[in-house]
Amino acid sequence: MTTDVLMLPIDLSAIGKEHWTLAVIGYSVVFLALILLFLFFSILPKFLTRNLRKKFQKEGSQEMAALAGTLVPGEVSAAIATAISLYLEELHDEETAILTIKKVGKSYSPWNSKIYNVINFNRFQR
């Protein structure tokens, strides 16, 4: 059975059972792989939280144990990250209005030293 649809020579009889089998199995296996990952990473946080809670309970910090595993909202994480970043970079909103003028001094180098220049060369000869 050959039908010309939009100038394309589509032959539906060419599609066999084995082609559908490959397509169905292939699609199912893609799902299977990602479902397994989904299940594993859905369970993992609960497992990690339980371990963390046990650790805090052993250490006697009941408050921390109760908080372990609770979701930290994105805004809170962002605020903490910004605070740490500002602290580390010592940035501040209010300027002190004191300008520090750095003293400029030339560092020593034999290439610009007067004692090694050409005029003094004879003196070294002596």
């Binding site: 589509i10 490959l22 292939g26 296996v29 792989a33 990602l34 990952l37 299940l39």
Partner: protein
């Protein structure tokens, strides 16, 4: 006088055919789209320039060793990296080193959207069979629906090396045109109310989870579809280099210098492989038609599956169905399309972080699909 005649006979002017000129025009369009509109410039500039190199006419098989299909030519040597399937896994190594899987780890159910959006691969495979392509050719054409250039090149290098040029060109062209292809389907399949759905912010992910993800994922996917190991092995290795924080230098090389070098060589050789004498065939036209269909089906598959998932989810956990479109693995282009479309419905609704989850899951899904095709057909 005889020398002048011979010189003219060897020149491009004497050997040019309408096919060569057409392909040169295609190359120029690619370069124009990349530079003027910044459509996938990292790929389209090398590919477009490769098309110019590959389609500059000359006397083929005259011992000049110029053409990509002539043994001993520079392009032929470089093309070996494509034919032997070396370049795509190296690109995956770099992609792994620059990909953050935390959106996926923080909301694992979105992985299913990455699987659903592979529908285009398998339906296009059936479509290609009906157009008279062989089984391995059809699988290579179907993989265009994964919207993943390296995966498409890798699979076609194994199953249908003679179609690499057309398949790669179709995949990258449609990836560049993703906003044009996906947007109408997204609007058609979702209501304005659905497009406005605000999703819960993703939770923070621990370092241990980030380290465990590539290790567990490579084992799971490798055991299920060993054929996907060259791609996914390298992808997850790159990600482990990044997340372990102890191999910063290796991760930096993988995601910068190495991926850049491979992208240049891959792009130029893929472009040059579209030599008019071998490329301009009826099959190439069919591949382009099937490729567009594959992209559309995959986009629809992801969106519809998100809508189905919403039937089973509580109102506060509902998914914005637009992010299903990001299940095709064009990272991060399809996530950006989702973000733009989401903002049009609600200017306060930023979906990009949520869309990145199915987006990276799509990379895994399409590589697994390629692995299964290889397992079945090799």
């Amino acid at each position: 006088m005889e020398g002048i005649v011979r010189f003219f006979e060897n020149s491009g002017f004497a050997n040019a055919t309408p096919g060569h000129l057409l392909m040169i025009l295609v190359g120029l369009i690619f370069i124009y789209l990349a530079i003027r509109h910044e459509y996938k410039p990292l790929f389209l500039v090398p590919i477009g320039f490769g098309i110019l190199i590959g389609n500059t006419p000359f006397i083929e098989h005259a011992g000049l060793h110029l053409g990509i299909y002539e043994e001993g030519s520079l392009m032929n040597y470089l093309y070996m990296g494509v034919l032997k399937g070396i370049f795509p896994p190296l690109i995956f190594l770099g992609i792994g080193a620059m990909t953050d899987f935390s959106p996926l780890i923080s909301n694992p159910k979105l992985m299913l959207l990455g699987a659903a959006a592979q529908l285009g691969i398998f339906l296009t495979y059936i479509g290609a069979i009906s157009l008279g392509f062989t089984n391995p050719e059809s699988a290579s054409i179907g993989i265009i629906g994964g919207a993943d250039g390296p995966t498409a090149i890798f699979l076609s290098s194994k199953l249908a090396p003679h179609l690499i040029g057309s398949i790669a060109l179709a995949a990258y062209s449609y990836m560049a045109l993703l906003p044009i292809i996906q947007t109408p389907i997204m609007r058609l399949l979702t209501s304005k109310q659905e497009r406005r759905i605000k999703m819960k912010p993703p939770r923070s992910v621990s370092k241990l989870e980030k380290i465990l993800f590539p290790i567990i994922a490579v084992l799971f996917t490798g055991f299920i579809a060993p054929g996907s190991l060259p791609l996914l092995g390298m992808l997850f290795l790159g990600n482990l280099l990044k997340e372990s924080m102890v191999t910063k230098r290796l991760a930096d090389t993988a995601k910068n210098a190495m991926i850049d070098i491979v992208t240049i060589v891959l792009g130029v050789t893929i472009g040059a492989s579209t030599q008019a004498t071998t490329f301009l065939t009826r099959e190439s036209v069919y591949i382009f038609v099937l490729g567009a269909t594959a992209f559309m089906i995959s986009t629809a598959g992801g969106i519809l599956f998100a809508k189905i998932m919403n039937l089973f989810l509580s109102p506060e956990n509902r998914i914005n169905p637009l992010i299903g479109a990001a299940g095709v693995s064009a990272v991060p282009d399809s996530a950006i399309v989702v973000q733009v479309e989401g903002l049009k419905a609600d200017p306060d609704n930023h979906l990009i972080m949520h869309a990145m989850a199915p987006n990276v899951a799509g990379v895994i899904g399409s590589a697994v699909a390629a692995g299964i095709m290889m397992n079945f057909l090799l």
